[in-house]
């Protein structure tokens, strides 16, 4: 995941992964990319194994989210729909 703009500052926040029930399993080495997501605002958009990557605003319509599955693969879950859909909203990666 790479930011396209640096807001400055430094903050540490505790986050709880959102409830994401629309899960699908991806194989080891699979890559999911959501790019220029016109229908998604990346606010607290991604959590990986319970660790929030960004809990602040700053991801915008130019954002690019890339998930690369490690060995064994895993589930990518959306809060509003499956990960590939426009209604996924927030994504959570689970083992």
């Amino acid at each position: 995941m790479r930011a396209d703009e640096w807001k400055g500052g430094n903050a540490t926040v505790n986050t709880t992964p959102p409830t994401a029930k629309y899960c699908r399993r991806y194989a080891a080495g699979d890559i999911l990319v959501k790019d220029n997501s016109k229908q998604v605002t990346w606010n607290a958009a991604a959590s990986f194994y319970g660790v929030g990557i960004t809990a602040q605003t700053g991801w915008n319509t130019r954002g690019r989210l890339q998930v690369i599955m490690g060995s064994g693969g895993g589930n990518i879950c959306g809060t509003g729909g499956h990960a590939t859909t426009s209604s996924a909203y927030q994504l959570v990666v689970k083992p």
């Binding site: 699908r24 080891a28 590939t84």
Partner: protein
């Protein structure tokens, strides 16, 4: 040809063209709902280099109280891969079916593969969630391939619709997706 004669010819031609466009226009806002993302906005890549066939699957939700008759799937392919399209018409638990898998070699998709039929003639029951299944035969082990979006053509109650699935499916080497 004088101007009056030109008008006499031009008006029917324009009308015919408009009528033709109306007859050919097919709604892309029908009751079969896929990911509904912009073309190329979402990419799913798997690693090339395995033997066998690669499958990608995408949920399609029927929101109509009538059955949906899928009549075909098409999309542009890059590479030498052979693409085949299938539909698993009624999947109770989409989350139990992997988003992608190799066959043979991975578990979890056996039930789906047992019930999927050619996308050229698949009937989705009213209100069911189906899976569009894309089969990629890379031909050569390690070959890369890309399916740059697909269009599902279907009929409901005598009306024809299309559903554009903008997700790109690809076989890649490394993390370049």
């Amino acid at each position: 040809m004088n101007r009056a004669a030109e008008r006499v010819v031009a008006v029917p031609v324009v009308l015919a063209a408009l009528l033709g466009l109306a007859a050919c226009s097919v709604s892309d806002d029908g009751p079969l709902v896929g990911p509904r993302v912009e073309p190329g906005e979402v990419r799913v890549c798997s690693q090339a280099g395995h033997e066998g066939l690669k499958y990608f699957s995408e949920p399609l939700v029927s929101t109509d109280d009538r059955s949906v008759q899928v009549t075909g799937v098409e999309g542009p392919v890059q590479g030498d891969a052979v693409i085949s399209d299938y539909v698993a018409a009624d999947v109770e638990d989409v989350g139990a079916v992997p988003a992608s898998w190799w066959w043979p070699g991975e578990v979890g998709a056996t039930e789906t593969m047992a019930v999927m039929v050619s996308a050229d003639d698949a009937e989705i029951p009213a209100g069911a969630t189906a899976l569009l299944v894309i089969e990629v035969d890379p031909g050569t082990v390690g070959a890369e391939a890309e399916l740059d979006g697909t269009t599902v053509r279907y009929e409901v109650g005598g009306e024809t619709y299309v559903e554009h699935v903008g997700v790109v499916y690809a076989l890649v080497s490394g993390d370049a997706c």
